[in-house]
Amino acid sequence: MRGSAGLGVAAAVLVSIIAAAVASLWWTPFPVDGFDMGNRFAMPTAAHPLGTDHYGRDVVSMLMAGAQTSLAVAAGAVAIGLFVGTPLGLAAASSGRAGRAVLMLGSDIVFAFPALIVAAILSTFRGPGAFNALIAIGIFYIPVFMRLTASSARRVLALDFVDAARLAGKSSARIAAEHVLPVVAPILLTQAATQFAIAILIEAGLSYVGLGAQPPAVSWGRMLAEAQTLISLAPQLAVWPGLAIVVTVLAATALGEGLNRRLDPRFAGRHA
């Protein structure tokens, strides 16, 4: 019962953040690209519930626009990990010893490249940007989903109904797609929620150090970097983007764990 309530709250929080990010595509309470120098460092008022920054921009509007960057990068990265890593993981589970060894060695090698390093390499050639961050985190997620798919799929492949399908003459590719994938899909989706949360954290770090979204794009990490230069003058500006990150990450993590608890047979019958 408690678990279900937590899951509902997490989902509701996440949906509101997504709604705010989507809304910011068309509308924010105040423009985020205009300066209002007469209204710098405003304290919270009815019009600006969280005040304004050093350019007089409304902090609520900035947070909404920043959510757009964070969520788009995180969602894109998870999509790359899922859509590339899952087929590779299924291939590794279905292939013979040698094929599996080569695929898993490849996965280990890619896993040794932290997203920050890939983002640095991409930025050297293309200049920094949110898309680099998305690709860098996505590449790092390929081995993450590949390993999980491979280990889950191997357990499914040992089950009797797979043998039945094999005897019926199905190819291993068809077995992987028609019999293994539906069983491992919920596990992968649960992991996707957790990796989405981690991607929000990585993206914030990348845009903080200047390897992510560039002005005029707004991002939570850049807001933190800008707030640092003003920390003795307006410490409140460092609070809001950090809180936005923490709330989003907590909600996505709780969603992942709540789903995991529902799917895990060890918890079966315990939830309402």
């Binding site: 896993f111 920050l116 390499i121 930025s123 150090v209």
Partner: protein, 313 residues
Amino acid sequence: MRVLTRLAQLAATLFVASLIVFMAMSVLPGDAGLLRLGMNAEPAAVAALRAEMGLDDPLPLRFVAWLGGILTGDFGTSGTYDVSVLGLLAERARVSVPLAVYALVLSVALALPAGIYAAVRRGRFADRAVRGVAEIGLSVPAVWLGLLFIYVFAVYLRWAPAGGFPGWDAGPARALGALTLPAVALAIPQAAILARIVRTALTEAMDEDFVALARAKGRSTAGAVIHHALPNAWAPILTVVGMQFGFLVAGAIVIETVFNLPGLGRLLFQAVAQRDIVLVQGITLVVVATVVIVNALCDVVAVASNPRLRRGP
């Protein structure tokens, strides 16, 4: 034999990783000569520089030359600093490595007791409290913790400078002092992850029959945990520590920026901004190789420490 197989695997991984680093820096669009001289450079000057950098040689030849250099300690010359990349790396590592080790020690010191305590008190208030704190801890960006520390300790209390590094020549106490806030900011999210793993691994080990047997034979809870459950929990803990190491390194690089520390991180971002390819290549290779080697070490120690995977006499 098993050690030899693992070593061969390690060598293969390092080789392919270095090949990827090399290819990424050589094949990606962008002319290395143009990147260094700027878009308005004379074509003749670019051609001369390309020849000097050996960029006109065939790719496999360039890779062999580059890798041969790395193996003999020649990482090339930085385009912007005009000094040897190895010297720069060694100088900056004197900040980054102590910072990462400091953070690792802190996170283990925090996470191990917390994780063990939560596992022993499973399902009770202490367990729920540890898990709740850990969940919040791993949701907090280290950058933000760093900013909060700077505000509280440097701006508000004025106990510490807002960043910077006095150098090891200023004495180990002052140098470590400058690394303390960054190390704590880096350690807290790591400790949260680690505490959860310790709890899970230990909980599973404690469910084993041999722990129940030890208890039935009169072992105290502490004795059963220390002598029976914990030795069986090290393997999964070490495996995850190895997997987290890349995050620790990336986190250290980011936190160096927050506290303005002259480590590998700042060097990397300057190299990216200056498009200093040789330097980016060198830093990238060192980071990736370190992650690969630490992962392998954790694997080996995990196998060696697992009583069930150890070969009997």
